[in-house]
């Protein structure tokens, strides 16, 4: 009954979305306020209905209702509650429901909190958002229905893949989806602006917080996924340039470009058409990612050809959304006139360079991910594009980006003094020079990228710190009070930017150091034996059986000491899941200031009490995720900037400001 209710709610949500995609748009075009006013209630109702639907599926999972096919295929009564719930989105149909839920959530939030949006822009935005919802709910109802019943019901389910029975599944996909799907609202804003034929600083001010929000979640989502990969895998790999990873990385890269170009639109009324194009393409890449993962085209081109229903449907959605968006863009963009002029050497110029390199990097990842598919589909043979390719093409684009990132924020708007900016960074130059010489000495002939990577990370970090010190007036004789006052009154957006840029430096350090100086030992150990890795002594105390709720495990115990001091007891295990019989490896990791100690237990010796073990020391590897955390945190700090806060323009209007309150508030502050 509850399952049918969920199914019914999903179909009603489809109907609501159809209404929402027609009436408000019609109202906006013909200037009928009554029609425009339907947008927000429709968006809220749509969210409510999708929530009911989602809750119904969750209920079916929690009570293990094995009359539902989706539950049968992905759950089991013995599974812990956390994984029963997260199992809802751990499969094709359920993950689409989560997709649609977040889509509706963003629409409803814009409807409810966007009271100050011009009614025309708001109606059009919500209408476009609803069109996307129509496409995806239709996709679910027609090809991927999570509420399909099965008769007769089996006694128990087939269980969720053990690799996914991890807290990672509870948090990683929802976060990633908020980011991924969050770009939909930016797309809707862009399409609405194109229909309206107007893009101004106010538009950019409305769009930026949403871009930032989506970007922050995508950053956290990707970082969480990479961390999950790191501890679940058994060998500590945190990124493999897998097509599925690239699917989420491409929108992130282009979203980062969008984030920066939107600043230029907001501050200087320039780069408008480019920013609109980025908004369309960023969400387009989210859809491409969905297509790649959902259609099965990655497994093989042939798998796609033999079971094309889902793939063709998503491909059609992709073509309509991106093709339609780009066609509208081609038709309207020439009418959008650029505003502010600027010289190549200026803050705008630096942001253009940022966009150039990030877009080229996105294109590189796109080529590497999709070209092999094209080649195979055209009969050109099979090639593999793996990490060696991406390291050779992607990193050279990132290095100049980071080099320029140190200087960019010091440049003035319109026309800047590059020499002056570089002079202000002389401390950073000096420190970087020293580090580079040391790195070159240690790493000569070993890794050019490693050498440059470390030096540039240091360069970026020192440049950001120099900028921060300058901004708060260190060394200007202000005293602690003065410095503290300036630090406190610094716009949050500037502060957030510095934190995020510092995060880039931190993450880069982690990536480079961990790949350069990892030490490992793969060996057979007898109980009582000691092995030294990276300066730590691992003593193997033996292994024994341990039982979990739905698995049995072999758990090893290692005592780790350094310089005679006991550091940690690590208990890596190897699980065998009862239902599926599949095995997973649970690495034991202890994060230390200078790096992670990482232990994995493998198979027992055929003859004897020994076990195959893998012991690693991974220097600074945790910095990768700290750095990503900094980036996300920087984004969140920026979001709290008064100018971007959703409620801020309200205050300006109450004070009786201009008809475009957002712009008015901006002028007042700048």
């Amino acid at each position: 009954m509850i399952v049918e209710l969920g199914h019914f709610a999903l179909i009603l949500a489809l109907c609501t979305a159809i209404v929402q995609s027609v009436l408000p748009l019609w109202g906006a075009q013909r200037d009928i306020p009554g029609f425009m006013a339907t947008a927000t209630p429709a968006a809220v109702v749509q969210l409510g209905l999708v929530m009911v639907s989602f809750a119904a599926l969750t209920y079916a999972y929690v009570v293990s209702d094995f009359t539902v096919l989706n539950v049968v295929q992905n759950s089991h009564t013995l599974k812990p509650l956390l994984y029963k719930i997260s199992g809802v989105w751990g499969n094709h149909e359920g993950s689409l429901l989560l997709w649609v839920l977040i889509l509706a959530l963003f629409g409803a939030i814009v409807g409810v909190f966007g009271r100050n949006l011009p009614p025309g822009l708001k109606s059009r935005t919500l209408a476009v958002q609803a069109m996307i919802a129509v496409g995806f709910i239709l996709f679910m109802v027609l090809t991927s229905n999570p509420f399909t019943r099965v008769s007769p019901p089996p006694v128990n389910g087939q269980d969720l893949n053990p690799l996914l029975q991890d807290p990672g599944l509870a948090f990683h996909p929802p976060m990633l989806y908020v980011g991924y799907v969050g770009f939909s609202i930016v797309f809707s804003f862009a399409i609405a602006a194109l229909i309206e034929g107007r893009v101004d600083a106010a538009w950019a001010r409305w769009v930026r917080p949403w871009t930032l929000l989506a970007w922050v979640f995508l950053t956290f989502g990707i970082a969480l996924g990479s961390w999950w990969a790191y501890y679940e895998l058994g060998w500590g790999g945190w990124w493999y340039w897998d097509p599925v990873e690239n699917a989420s990385f491409m929108p992130w890269l282009l979203g980062t470009a969008l984030l920066h170009s939107a600043i230029v639109v907001e501050k200087r009324d320039a780069l408008k058409t480019w920013t609109i194009l980025l908004a369309i393409l960023t969400f387009g890449l989210s859809l491409v990612g969905t297509f790649l993962v959902r259609s099965g085209v990655l497994t093989s081109v042939h798998a796609f050809a033999t079971d094309p229903d889902r793939g063709v449907f998503i491909l059609a959605l992709l073509v309509i959304a991106i093709g339609g968006g780009l066609a509208l863009y081609a038709y309207r963009a020439p009418q959008l006139k650029g505003g502010g002029l600027f010289a190549p050497i200026s803050r705008e110029g630096a942001l253009v360079l940022n966009n150039l390199l990030l877009t080229a990097a996105t294109a590189t990842v796109f080529l590497g991910t999709l070209y092999p598919l094209f080649l195979e589909a055209l009969g050109g043979g099979k090639v593999s594009v793996g990490p060696p390719y991406f390291n050779a093409t992607f990193i050279p684009l990132m290095l100049p980006l980071v080099a320029a990132l140190g200087v960019g924020p010091l440049l003035a708007w319109k026309r800047a003094d590059l020499k002056g900016a570089l002079q202000r960074l002389k401390v950073a130059f000096a420190i970087t020079g020293v580090v580079f010489v040391v790195c070159a000495y240690v790493l000569w002939g070993r890794s050019v990228f490693g050498m440059l990577g470390l030096a540039l990370a240091v360069w970026l970090a020192t440049a950001v710190l120099v900028e921060f010190a300058e901004r708060i007036g260190v060394g200007k004789g202000l005293g602690w009070d003065g410095v503290w006052r300036r630090a406190r009154t610094m716009p949050r957006a500037s502060f957030g930017m510095m934190v995020a840029h510092l995060g880039v430096a931190v993450a880069m350090t982690g990536m480079t150091a961990s790949s350069l100086w990892q030490s490992e030992s793969i060996t057979v150990m007898q109980p009582g034996e000691t092995e030294t890795v990276g300066g730590y002594q691992f003593t193997f105390k033996g292994a024994g059986p341990v039982d979990g709720p739905n698995y049995t495990a072999t758990e090893g115990t290692f005592v780790v000491t350094a310089g005679g001091e006991r550091i940690a007891t690590l208990t890596p295990s190897k699980r065998q899941y009862v239902v599926s019989g599949r095995e997973t490896t649970e690495a034991a990791i202890r994060t230390r200031p200078l790096g992670d100690i990482f232990a994995v237990i493998g198979d027992p010796q055929a003859d004897g009490p020994g076990y195959t073990v893998r012991l690693y020391f991974k220097p600074l590897v945790a910095w990768i995720w700290f750095g990503c955390g900094f980036m996300g945190l920087g984004g969140l700090i920026s979001l709290t900037d008064r100018r971007l806060r959703v409620g801020a323009p309200t205050r300006a209007r109450r004070r009786g400001a201009a008809p475009q309150p957002a712009l008015g508030a901006a002028k007042a502050q700048d």
């Binding site: 990683h172 060998w235 590189t364 593999s384 390719y389």
Partner: protein, 166 residues
């Protein structure tokens, strides 16, 4: 057992959701990789073997190098590479051998040849085109205000006419 796990992972990849999830899945089978008994005694040669292993695709897996895979084939190839290193072959010779036996697909770094020119020169071409676009953008921008500075004789006449008419 391993083969069954592999098939399961494949089936799962197809049916599973979420890029996310797929991230974990990208990792595919657990543990795995190089086994102690495979390792070469000479640490330098072992290092070479590991680096080479990172460049060779496990053909029965998805997006995994033989260094990280626990499939039987990956193990065979790891052992093969080590035997060839012991026999004194160079990295290039070993790669050439694998390429002739399994085709380009086995190399995670695609070979440079006409079919892959797009892959290898594409990024540079795109960057160059983008830079050109940016150059044109600034060039046109700089021209426009300059053109606006002076009115043509005809424009001046029209302006005077309008002003006089007011």
């Amino acid at each position: 057992m391993i083969r069954r796990a592999r098939t399961a992972v494949w089936a799962m990849r197809r049916s599973l959701g979420a890029f996310a999830i797929a991230l974990a899945v990208a990792l595919a089978a657990p543990a795995a990789a190089v086994q102690p008994e495979e390792k070469l005694a000479d640490p330098q040669k072992e290092q070479r073997a590991q680096e080479l292993g990172e460049e060779i695709r496990c053909l029965v897996c998805q997006s995994e190098s033989i260094a990280n895979s626990n499939a039987d084939l990956a193990k065979d190839l790891r052992v093969l590479i080590r035997e060839k290193i012991q026999a004194g072959q160079s990295n290039q010779e070993i790669k050439d051998f694998l390429q002739s036996r399994y085709g380009d697909y086995v190399l995670l770094r695609p070979p440079v040849k006409p079919e892959t020119y797009v892959l290898w020169y594409g990024p540079a071409a795109i960057t160059a085109l983008g830079a050109l676009g940016v150059g044109v953008f600034f060039w046109r921008r700089n021209k426009r205000p300059a053109a606006q500075q002076k009115l043509s004789a005809d424009e001046q006449r029209r302006l005077n006419h309008i002003l006089d008419g007011e």
